[in-house]
């Protein structure tokens, strides 16, 4: 009987050894791939940082107001952040590749879905970023125009415009990501529509006088070239 | 009275020509202005004479001119180049006898050349017997023949003509101890035309010459005949009355003869001298001449166009006389101050050239001896409305001598060849009436008739061609003028028209090549035939007619409908 146990143990040990022998190289391969991935990701990160510096990405980010946002959240600057994100994504990608090599079927599907998700993630980030830029630009333009034209409450106008654009951008981004797109879309539609309706009503009824004055000023300004109380700047 | 033609034996190669019987002969004439003294000396006394002039009639006929204008050849002390006359009915002995003159006249007529002579009506020399008598005493019968005064205050404000030498229009006569009136030099007392005796005498003088056969009389200094207090003493109505009377008598006794007025006035002021065709036949158009020079320097047609457009219309039988240069200075009286300064600065930089508000230079030196400019100016002279006058020597491009006094620099001997005395005389060169031009550019070895007649491309040859072309049509002498105004203001273009004939003249006043587009829509369908080479230029269509021209080039185009 002792011999049978030894024999079985032996057999089991052999199985284990076989298993290890089967498995170990793959782990090794995975580790190698991971290491490689780390290096590649690092290169990408540095390269991207360099490129972004050259392209003055930070300034664009400042314009967009993202820098402010990030500062508030105690995150590093946008180009740094972006580089790091790219680093992690790339490394993760390589790791997943390595995992794939392990041959564990369970992960395969999730891995491929991850890779499919990536472009949409980037697209969404892209949209959000440029949406923020645009919002900030148009808000500022509106603010300046309103201040110089001596319109009442210019800040409100600017914030309004910024909000609209940001909402729109976020909606688009979520649509890209495919996360609760319908909900967001509907919510946006309701909010936007409601806002527009409200504005229309305000202009049409309550703000009639204001609108009239506003239009008059616009229209008449083109006709008249002179006013009593301003001096010629030139 | 005109002579009929006769063929004279011995004149082998000369053509004998009929004098046109046309009463308007002066409209088609090409006039050659010459002083007998300068042309040819036959008796070697150093002074040209009528026999010599007669010898050279062949040359003149070949040149193509049809009328000779002779400077005064009367007996005279010659203090004003013969315009101070001491005897109206004779010829100065330097130039020959009255018979010499008659002979010359006959020969000229045989060659188809008419003769115009000077008649100085306004004044005589102080050596004239009339003045000698007049000044001798206040009771002399001829006293009233001149204008005397005890003071020099009368006719104040009258302008002085010879500014460089005279300071007043009155001169004090020591003999009769009073003042006499003279618009010109002080040795040229003015005749008193308020005196009928003077008027009759002057007519009889004119008659003397007309009976001899002279075809035309140039009446010198006519604006100044009559003086009146409180006026400018120029162009007075009384003057015109006298002139009309002379003309009436001329028409009555000598039809077909011509009276030419010398009156340096603006064209508008000259108009009265034509009357209604009952005063002068021709008058000099003085103002256009300096403007031609100015236009060429400015490279802008404005001066010429302005003056020609301001020129008033004259009665049909009347005609303007045009010239580039003459025996006097190039007068700048009839230009504005700005223009005068410009002319002085550009044409007479050396003050020695300036005289009496004018420039005393010949044509070629004025144009820097530039052949193209000389041709252009002559081309304009021959194509403007009027009768052209060529000053002797300008047809070969003679030069001048500014170091001779007064205006004698442009009155040097005619240069016939490069030999002894330039072929003018056989006298000693030192004995000539005037030194010859001797510099290497204009001197007689370089510029003379003989050398130029040997070349088919000399200025002389070209002038002959120009004159012949001008004579080929009556349009130039008798036609109307209408200016075209192309955008390129360096080009002067106009159309001369007479009944069905039309000639387009285009002149490039600029020293550089020019392109010009002419609006010839009125003449659409015509072809242009260039008159010198008789080549056909493209037909006029709807588009503006494009011509490209070299520096100082000009075209004469006959417009023809085939």
């Amino acid at each position: 009987m002792w011999e049978m146990i030894m024999g079985e143990l032996d057999h089991a040990m052999q199985e284990l050894a076989r298993g290890f022998a089967h498995f170990l190289p793959r782990v090794l391969a995975m580790l190698i791939i991971a290491l490689l991935g780390w290096m590649v990701a690092y290169v990408f990160k540095v390269a991207l940082r360099g490129i972004l510096r050259v392209v003055k990405f930070d300034r664009l980010a400042d314009n967009a107001g993202t820098t402010e946002l990030l500062n508030k959240l105690a995150l590093p600057s946008s180009s740094e952040l972006l580089s790091r994100v790219v680093f992690w994504v790339v490394w993760l990608g390589f790791i997943l590749l390595g995992v794939q090599v392990l041959g564990i079927v369970f992960f395969q599907e999730y891995i491929s879905r991850f890779f499919l998700f990536l472009p949409r993630l980037f697209a969404a980030l892209f949209i959000v970023f440029f949406g923020l830029v645009a919002a900030s630009f148009f808000a500022r333009a509106a603010l300046l125009a309103a201040v110089n034209a001596d319109s009442p409450s210019p800040r409100i106008l600017a914030t309004l415009i910024r909000t609209i654009i940001v909402l729109f951008t976020v909606t688009l981004a979520f649509e890209q990501l495919g996360i609760g797109e319908r909900t967001i879309l509907v919510a946006f539609a309701i909010a936007f529509g409601g806002l527009m309706l409200g504005l229309a009503l305000a202009f049409g009824m309550g703000g009639r006088e204001l609108a009239k004055q506003f239009l008059e000023r616009r229209f008449l300004k083109e006709r008249q070239e002179h006013r009593q109380d301003e001096l010629s700047p030139l | 009275m005109t002579r009929d033609l006769t063929v004279t034996a011995g004149l082998v190669k000369e053509k004998v020509v009929t004098l046109p019987q046309d009463a308007l002969w002066y409209k088609d004439a090409i006039v050659y202005q010459v002083h007998v003294r300068t042309f040819q000396d036959s008796n070697d006394d150093g002074i040209g004479d009528f026999r010599g002039l007669a010898e050279k009639l062949a040359y003149l006929q070949e040149l193509g001119i049809t009328a000779l204008w002779l400077m005064p050849f009367f007996p005279s002390p010659l203090r004003d180049d013969g315009y101070d006359i001491a005897d109206y009915r004779s010829v100065h002995p330097n130039y020959g006898t009255l018979d010499d003159f008659k002979h010359f006249l006959a020969l000229a007529h045989e060659r188809g050349i008419r003769v115009i002579m000077e008649m100085v009506l306004n004044h005589t020399s102080d050596q004239h017997p009339w003045f000698q008598e007049s000044r001798s005493s206040r009771d002399n019968p001829r006293r009233d023949w001149y204008v005397w005064s005890d003071t020099d205050n009368r006719y104040r404000g009258t302008r002085i003509i010879f500014l460089d030498t005279e300071t007043s229009n009155w001169a004090r006569d020591p003999v009769s101890k009073s003042y006499y009136w003279h618009r010109f030099f002080s040795h040229q007392p003015d005749l008193n035309y308020d005196n009928p005796a003077v008027r009759e005498e002057m007519w009889s003088v004119m008659r003397f010459w007309l009976e001899m056969g002279v075809d035309g009389l140039r009446l010198d200094a006519v604006p100044y005949l009559v003086e009146r207090e409180g006026t400018s003493c120029e162009n007075l109505p009384e003057t015109h009355v006298i002139l009309k009377d002379l003309r009436r008598r001329l028409d009555e006794h000598f039809p077909g003869r011509m009276l030419l007025a010398e009156a340096n006035q603006w064209p508008a002021d000259l108009r009265p001298y034509f009357g209604e065709g009952d005063e002068f036949h021709m008058a000099f158009h003085f103002p256009v001449m300096p403007r031609m020079f100015m236009s060429v320097k400015l490279e802008d047609r404005k001066p010429i166009m302005d003056i020609l457009q301001q020129t008033p219309a004259i009665p049909d039988p009347c005609q303007w006389c045009l010239f580039l240069r003459n025996h006097d200075e190039l007068t700048l009286e009839m230009v504005t101050d700005i223009e005068r300064d410009y002319m002085y600065d550009t044409y007479a930089g050396d003050k020695a050239m300036r005289l009496n508000l004018g420039i005393r230079r010949r044509l070629a030196p004025l144009l820097d001896n530039d052949r193209r400019r000389v041709e252009l100016m002559n081309g304009m002279l021959m194509s403007f409305p009027g009768t052209p006058i060529i000053y002797y020597g300008d047809e070969i491009g003679m030069g001048d001598n500014v170091h001779l006094g007064d205006r004698n620099g442009v009155r040097t001997p005619m240069q016939w060849d490069g030999g002894w005395d330039a072929g003018f005389s056989k006298a000693d060169p030192e004995n000539l009436y005037s030194p010859l031009i001797m510099d290497p550019v204009y001197g007689y070895p370089a510029v003379n008739v003989y050398a130029q007649s040997r070349s088919g491309h000399s200025l002389l040859a070209w002038m002959k061609l120009l004159i012949a072309t001008r004579k080929s049509t009556q349009v130039f002498g008798r036609g109307s003028i209408e200016f075209l105004q192309p955008a390129n203001h360096r080009v002067l273009a106009y159309v001369r028209q007479l009944k069905n004939e039309a000639v387009l003249v285009v002149n490039n006043l600029s020293s550089s090549a020019q392109a010009v587009e002419l609006d010839l829509r009125r003449y659409k369908g015509n072809i242009l035939v260039e008159m010198f080479g008789r080549n056909i230029f493209p037909r006029i269509g709807d588009l503006p007619y494009l011509l490209t021209m070299g520096p100082y080039q000009f075209f004469w185009f006959r417009l023809r409908r085939i």
């Binding site: 314009n63 333009a141 201040v147 110089n148 002179h226 301003e230 | 392109a515």
Partner: protein, 407 residues
Amino acid sequence: MSVGEVDLLVSVPTHNSAQTVGETVQSIRMGLLKYFPRERAVILNADAGSKDGTREVIAAAASNDLQRSANLYSLRTLPCISTVYGDSPETDVALRTVLAAADLLHAKACAVVSPDSTSITPDWIERLLRPVYRENFDLVMPVYRRHKFDGLLLRNLIYPMTRALYAKRVREPYALEFAFSDRFGGHLLERQIWDQESRGLAAEMRMTIAAMAGGFRLYQTFLGTKPHVDRTGADLVAALRQTVGTLFWSLDANFQYWSATGQPESVPSCGAEYDLTTEPIRVNRKRLYQLFNSGVAELEPVLRSILSPQTLADVRSIARLSDDDFRYPHDLWVRTAYEFASSYHKSVINRDHIIQALAPLYRGKVYTFLVENRDASGPEVEANVEELCLTFERFKPYLLDVWTARE
């Protein structure tokens, strides 16, 4: 152009100027005939699609009979050409047309005259062209007699800043009337400064700056009184764009030059150097103060990106003053202007927005100017302006620091 070669070219850019241009052309003709009778000249009308018969008026004025009325005689033809360069006025294209014409016609001296100058006299032609044609200057800028409250933008910002940085005392760097030489004209054409980027910037001002930076000989000539013209406030932003925008843009382009200049040298001039009229005119100062205040308050986030924290704090502190006590000190104004310039250079935000943001601050400065000079005489105003200029000069190193500092 069949006009051929000319010596002098006088250009009149027009757009619906039929009311005033007839007189202008007459004066130009008289001036040319009187002072340059022997020169070949041409009058060029660069029209921007006028619909009120401007070109016909010009043609009539150019050909009517001057001689009798003015006792002037013209030796030459004085052609007058008219050309249409577009549908709407663009100073760029107009200037380029003039330069091209001057080049084609080999004009030695070229003058540009505005058709709105109702006070033009024939002398102007002489004063504009003589320095170029006879004395070899390259660019002649005008000097006008103005009301003391006129041309405030020029006096409070453009003139002092240009003078401090480009080291030339040109009083009116932005002018509608000037004259230039063929040498300078050729330089401008060559440099091809008419590219897409600089569209909308005042061509005249760029031209002046090009002359200053290029070492050309400048001259100033007195051209009489400039009539007082009222304009609306909205034009302020457009004016700022044209002048200040051009100035800032040029600073960017000409850094090499202005960073190395020293003391400003004066420019030779003829006629009254400067002159001010002081008749009383109505001015609404309160509004300026209000606009300044509201501007500073509302534009705070924008100004934060443009100004340094210190300057912004100072600005906000003066904004808190009441309208009686309010003063915009010279120092602060200079710092403001310089920081705006350097922010423009770095494009911290969209450049056009930077210009727009300057408007309220400028209004504050104008308010101060008006208050300080309310009862001042001509020379006193002049002294104030001079002081401001010196302040600008003094702070030039500050500008250099800010310009080259990295965030």
